[in-house]
């Protein structure tokens, strides 16, 4: 997916109403009227949201058919999986640095000394609040 396309996808999904529309289309196709029903907004407002989702390639519909049901592109599910994988990789990268920290601690101390160190870390808290501002 190109970066430009990604930008449009994320802009489209940044809005909670549009995310909700996507969530409902994930269950099954729906017409504009059906999609508008739960919201306190006009059909036109929902149509605008759908236009944004269509421009981002997340939602499709039959040609020139205003009443035709909207359909969620299967690719969206891949995108969601990709988000989780991305998040997972970020966590993994952080934890690999922790792996390195743990390895560097090997030479430092025995089990007893470790506990002492941890205790002293608690006893000597960092409180340079002035530096925060």
């Amino acid at each position: 997916m190109s970066e430009d396309r990604l930008s449009r996808v994320f802009a489209a999904l940044a809005d909670p109403t549009r995310r909700d529309i996507v969530a409902r289309l994930a269950v099954g196709d729906a017409t504009v009227g059906q999609l508008a029903a739960p919201y306190d907004v006009s059909i036109q407002a929902v149509s605008k949201h759908l236009k944004v989702l269509e421009d981002a390639g997340l939602v499709s519909r039959s040609r020139d058919a205003q009443r035709r049901p909207r359909h969620l592109e299967a690719e969206v599910f891949d995108l969601m999986t990709a988000w989780i994988e991305r998040y997972r990789r970020q966590a993994e990268e952080r934890y690999r640095r922790l792996d390195a920290v743990l390895a560097s601690m090997d030479d430092e101390a025995s089990g007893t000394a470790r506990a002492t160190d941890a205790r002293s870390a608690e006893k000597e808290p960092i409180t340079n609040e002035g530096a925060a501002s």
Binding site: F10, T81, R86, R88, L98, D99, D117, A121, I126, N128
Partner: protein, 167 residues
């Protein structure tokens, strides 16, 4: 995401679970060190700064009172400038077993999550950590999951791959 069936990515590395019906994120990871050592790396300020903050930034601990009832605040610095700051309480510090904290990103002051980390002794000098984050609603959870990608839109895939998690 809340819009799909069970989303779970499992490898021998970090495992993430995002329940489609609950506003939670569960992060599971095994470490080749005993619980006391892993726990210390989590609370000792000199060790925490070496791994917890985002990779592209320097981490500055402004407050770090890692005891039950204590508090913390830290900032991420880029070229000496504060680009993000986080704070919260240490709800419980139970040595080598359990760490419970509240967590707020100052950029979204009304948002707060409850972070529970448990340290399981796997024997043979190994530890499994299970981190559970509970946020206000599914929308907030999904925003957190997607946040790394939003940064990526601006910084590009290459840099994104090197980025680290929300905190």
């Amino acid at each position: 995401m809340s819009t799909n069936a069970a989303h779970e990515t499992t490898t021998r590395e970090t495992t993430i679970e995002a329940d489609p019906k609950l506003p939670t994120i569960r992060i599971i990871r095994d470490f080749a060190a005993p619980p006391d050592k892993v726990f210390r790396a989590w609370i000792d300020p000199e060790l925490v700064v070496q791994w917890l903050g985002p990779k592209s930034t320097e981490m500055r601990l402004d407050q770090w009172n890692a005891r039950t009832g204590g508090n913390y605040r830290y900032a991420a610095l880029q070229d000496g400038q504060e680009v993000a700051a986080f704070y919260g309480s240490f709800h419980e510090v139970r040595r080598n077993e359990r760490l419970v904290q509240t967590f707020t990103w100052e950029g979204m002051p009304d948002g707060v999550s409850l972070e529970t980390m448990t340290f399981e002794d796997l024997g043979d000098g190994r530890t499994r950590t299970i981190g559970l984050s509970v946020v206000e609603n599914l929308e907030a959870r999904d925003a957190i999951m997607a946040s790394g990608m939003e940064v990526g839109v601006y910084e590009g895939y290459e840099k994104l791959d090197a980025l680290l998690a929300k905190d």
